[in-house]
Symmetry: C2
Amino acid sequence: MNAVATKPPPENSLNERLAHSGLRLTPQRQQVHEVLREKMDHPTADQVFMRAKSKMPEISMATVYNCLDALVTCGLVRQVTLDRGATRYCPNMQDHSHFYCDECGSVYDILQTISPEEAHIKLPRGFRLKLIETNLHGLCPDCAAKTK
Amino acid sequence: MNAVATKPPPENSLNERLAHSGLRLTPQRQQVHEVLREKMDHPTADQVFMRAKSKMPEISMATVYNCLDALVTCGLVRQVTLDRGATRYCPNMQDHSHFYCDECGSVYDILQTISPEEAHIKLPRGFRLKLIETNLHGLCPDCAAKTK
DNA sequence: TCAAGATTTAGAATTATTCTAAATTGAGCC
DNA sequence: GGCTCAATTTAGAATAATTCTAAATCTTGA
């Protein structure tokens, strides 16, 4: 045993985070969170539903939306909207941005962001800035190779 | 008369831009573009439809989507997706970002962006970056005042 | 144990977007 | 000008995404 602080197991933080927003930890919310962490490919609500259903056959679509909303509310999941299609969900809460391939629609995490400070964005009086979302658009390696 | 270069009338550039992408200038596309420029409040396709319809009663929803797509394709309009709701459209092609009020959903143009250079984003090999989209989230002056 | 409130569920309802097939339009050519 | 071809528009149906509803279930705290 050493003195280094260890992270609490994810279930704990999950519970704490939910509780902090006045929400309960339920098996469904746990399952949805697990599904997201298992394969961080930015699935849509529908994909989350199908994956969760395979482990928990009784879960319903409405619950998936409810769980996703709960997880977003308490800051454990990010919503990612990049085009006209369905919203995607991302359980990576590290500061990062998303690269969206305009050709094939795939999404990649890019472990860099622009902080409000370095962006030195000056907003008109009265605005309260909470978060800067950076979306990178272009071609993923596969599509870039094909286009060449 | 003086020697200062004058901008070509918007219809011209509209036509040129469309032609450049192999698209035609039609009354409907012109109308949709006009609607967007008239009130730059980031309307949804549905709002554009209603506004266009008041001037051109025979226009259909499918045409509005077609026109919006055409204008986006030829670089005259930007698509703005900020949340789970309907996509919005922005005819301001100046470099700028969008401020989204998480409370009331209103959208403001912010005339600052982060260039790929100053962002010094380093992408993994193979990615081809075309555009950085910056979305600011927080509270608009009205909502900020209420929350206080 | 009970009551109150939160959560889940199925399915209906709504909203957003795309598709389809027929009609219309416009550009280039004779 | 009339003809042909392809692009565009149209109404409406179809699909996809999300939200709503009301009843059932679960959890928590008195």
